[in-house]
Amino acid sequence: MIYLQRTSRPTNPLTKVAIGAATVFIVGAILLQLFAPSFFPSVLHTLGLPLWRSNAAVGVSFSNFFGLLNSKRALILSNRDLKAKLEETQLRLTAQIALQDEYLKLKALFEGEGRKDAIIAAVLARPNVSVYDTLVIDAGTSEGVVAGDEVLVAENIMIGTVDHVFAHSAVVKLFSTPGESTLVEIGPQKIQTTAEGRGGGNFEARLPRGVEVAEGDSIIIPSIDPKLFAVVEKINVAPSDPFQVVLFKSPVNLFEVEYVEIYPKH
């Protein structure tokens, strides 16, 4: 058999230096990430802000970029604006109907008192940009955002909580993150259950078959100030299963949301 002979040529000293430097760099980076986990994300968010902002300023996400290239550009833009307006109106209406009773009770209790501590933030990156169910927003510690703050859309629809905060940006973890559990109340009977995230604003809950749930029922997050969480989309009942699987969806399209409101954690 013929084997490949080892070369007798000495290794280039520059190669050795490069390998040594790379090793030191990698080990240093790992140690830094272990002991200061927010260092690299903070630096990267600072670098990424101009890119995200320019992308948001253009007002065209790359997911619908090709749709704008055709001759019906104006029509598409007009259609999108109208759809956005209609969607916003529907969201407000759904939220109002679901929370009307609570609102009247709370109004009687807290007449004239409203939550004026909201921070409005623009959404820089939506869930479709990464494999995670997260939003990147343009408000951070400088604007008063703190990890754990509640994130809402259209004043009454809760979509997630702030996970990491940086100087001028923050990462919002959505309730629909796969496997994320949230305590909710379903329907007019306010049946308490745990909603499990399924990604992209979708959720699932298992309830005994006898419990009455209908498509279109509102799901709220229970608290002194209840917030709309989702709306029941479909109910799956298998003959062999004593439970029914309730599938529900956030009324907000998380892939198109432009602004969010951040409230301090209760």
């Binding site: 994300p41 990267l44 995200w52 997911s63 995670y132 993150t177 796969p178």
Partner: protein
């Protein structure tokens, strides 16, 4: 029969690889994730551009949150690209290309 050939050592190949890598790293900020994953896979397969693992790490550091259904891991994109790299390495060895 049409056959795709790409000389990765040629100047054109190097230019495509460089532009693709730049686009990939920019795409982490602005493109949908499926575009970035496809671009990364193409770079891995045609150019063995293992630097895309660093891109996965960048994505995780920017957007990563613990995913309860995946045992709370926060480095999902890095893992995807590491597995893709191993797959591409094994495929290349098997195909002898």
């Amino acid at each position: 029969m049409w056959r795709f050939t790409l000389n990765t050592d040629s100047t054109a190949g190097k230019v495509i690889r460089t532009l693709g890598t730049i686009l990939f790293f920019m795409g982490i900020f602005i493109f949908p994730s499926w575009v970035t994953l496809l671009l990364g896979s193409a770079l891995l397969f045609f150019f063995r551009a293992f630097e895309i693992i660093a891109g996965g790490l960048l994505s995780d550091l920017l957007y990563g949150v613990p995913i309860p259904s995946l045992l709370g891991i926060t480095f999902l994109t890095t893992l995807i690209f590491v597995f893709l790299s191993i797959a591409v390495f094994l495929i290349h060895r098997r195909l002898l290309v």
